[in-house]
Every structure is written in structure tokens, then in C-alpha cells.
Symmetry: C2
Amino acid sequence: MSTGIEALDVLAEQFARLPGIGRKSAQRLALAVLEYSEDDITSFTSAMQSAKEKIHRCPVCENLTDRELCPICADPDRDRSVLCVVEDARAVMAFERVRSFRGVYHVLHGLISPMNGITPDALTLRELLSRLSDGSVREVIVATGATTEGEATAMYIARLLTPLGVRVTRLAHGIPYGGELEYADEITLSRALEGRRSMD
Amino acid sequence: MSTGIEALDVLAEQFARLPGIGRKSAQRLALAVLEYSEDDITSFTSAMQSAKEKIHRCPVCENLTDRELCPICADPDRDRSVLCVVEDARAVMAFERVRSFRGVYHVLHGLISPMNGITPDALTLRELLSRLSDGSVREVIVATGATTEGEATAMYIARLLTPLGVRVTRLAHGIPYGGELEYADEITLSRALEGRRSMD
């Protein structure tokens, strides 16, 4: 997919490195950037540099923030006794959009994936353990995704935390809202059945 | 879709300005950039600046190039008596992938679109007329897409060129209606080229 214009191919390669951008889209984005004014280019490159420079991990929950503490950890009204463990910053954003969770988070920055060489050491598990050391956390909700890696990471965390006497829970698995039974896959259906609850 | 992290929102907005990138994807891309090393960021921003700096329009055909003349105009084996008029550089790339066209191009850098305030003045039509002034071009193939704007632009060009005595042809309708040139498969594109018809 070379265009024969080296500087354009180099830029397209940069776009193609980003998640979900294929070769053809990358070329399209590179061509769009060529239409930009010098000022537009500067705005884009400064936004990139400034985001990298200003954004760091919250020293408490490891979520991304541009402040000393992230707004959730800085909020005195959040319930620090319930800790929701998530894969990444996007999961925190998803939960915050729902607004029904009033506890705090712990961001793992990854999932255990031996296939991709991601071992438990690469996650923020040491930081998680140190947050639990003073006994103020009563429940840890393991909210990793319902994927193979999400499940494996959840199992690992449960085994790690249960001996500490903290209550470890997992998000419910089941039929998504609006989901038709006939389109549910077998694993989803069997989990929905296992996790059935009394209706009274 | 604010994340509550200003520098991240600013970067996501920059991605969202690009074609085909929605709000949610833009946020995902911005988060991916945060995972980059300083060197990765520098490679990306330099690629952007260098593409903008080095790439300009070929003074003959208006196609994008990083050389003095684009490789097509510089190639002595191309047939300068057949001129293929296209919307943009992506269309040239699409034709060049087919390899069945041996003439040269003229890149309009847009299509006439009164709805979007793009008048004929915004295209490289003056440059097209000046290329035709010495009578060496025998045929102009109008290869704009089979969209409303592509057709309108083709009609405009045909009316502009026919009085000059040059043969004006249009790509055959092998391209599906509403189809963008760059997504046409090679056989469709090659047949459309073979089946081109006179516009007078």
C-alpha cells in the first residue's frame, strides 16, 4: 500500500500503529493531515505532546489524571470501602457514565495474557495489595471484561485477595439488556442460568 | 463524551476532526497515544510535520509529490496525449494500482459542491485549461466518482472543454452508484476505464 511518496507513507504508518486503524484508513488520515494548515498541524502535535506531558497515573487508584489526585479519589463523598478493579481508564469512564457506582476504582492497566507476554507483574497488583493493607476496604468488585483474559485476571485477583479476608465479588454475567434469548451464545446462556436470582 | 481530563479531551478532539473518526474512536486513539514513549510521540509529530513540509503539488498535474515533478509526470513512457481528470490523490493511487492506464493525470483537489460552498474556482480548472492550450492532449477522461457531485463536476468539465475541440470521455457506468473511487475493486475500475464514452 505504498503511495510512492515517502513522507506520506511514513505518516500513514504512524496512523496504522493506532488501534483499529487499517492500512487504507491510515492512508486516508495521512492525506487528510496534508490538507491541514501549519497551525492545524501545530495544534495536533502540541495536543499530543501536552497530553503525554500532563497526564499521569493517580497515585492512589492508578487512573489517568492531569491533577495531583484524580477527581474520584479527591472526592470526599466517594465510598472508599468499596473498590472496583478495572482493566483501564476507559472502563472507569464507562462506569462513571452510568453514575450508579459510588465507590472508588483501581486501574490495572492491562489484563494477564501469557500469549502476549503480559504477566501479573505488568499490572498494578502490588499497588492494589498496598491499598488493602490498612483493612479499610470491605469489598473488591473485580470488573474486568467477560473475555478469556478478563476471566483469567479476575480468577488470579480473587486467589490473591481472598486470603486477606476481604470480600471479592465479580460483575454479574448474563443476557444483556434488550438481548433476545435466541441470539444469546451458549456460554452467556449457561451463565445467565447459573446466576439466576429469586424474583421476590 | 468529556473524560474530565482536559489534555486528553483536547487530543481526542484533534483525532475526531479527521475523516471517519467518531467521538468514541477519537477517545480510544488519544488513550493509545498516552501509552506511547516520548520517542514514539516524537516520531508521530515529526512524521506529521515532515509530510506537511515535504509534500506539495506537482506543478504539471497537481498530484501530491515530494519531488520536483511527480513520478508519473517525470516518466517519459507515459502517454501525454491522454489526460485523466480525477478528484484527488487517492483516485490517482487507485488507478495506478490497476496499471492499465498509461496516460497522465490532472488532479482537481475537490468536486464542485454548491451545498458545501465549493465552486469551480476552488478546483484546478485553470491549470487544466492551460495544459490543453498547446493542443497536444487528444483526449480528456473525466474520472470523477459516480456521485451527485462527481457527475456535476464531470458535466461542468465537459461543457468547459468540448468547445476546445478536445475529445472528452467519461468512465463507463461500471462503478456502482454512490461508490467512492478508492473503494472500487480493480476489475470494476479497469472495466469502467475500457468502457468510457464520449460526452458530446
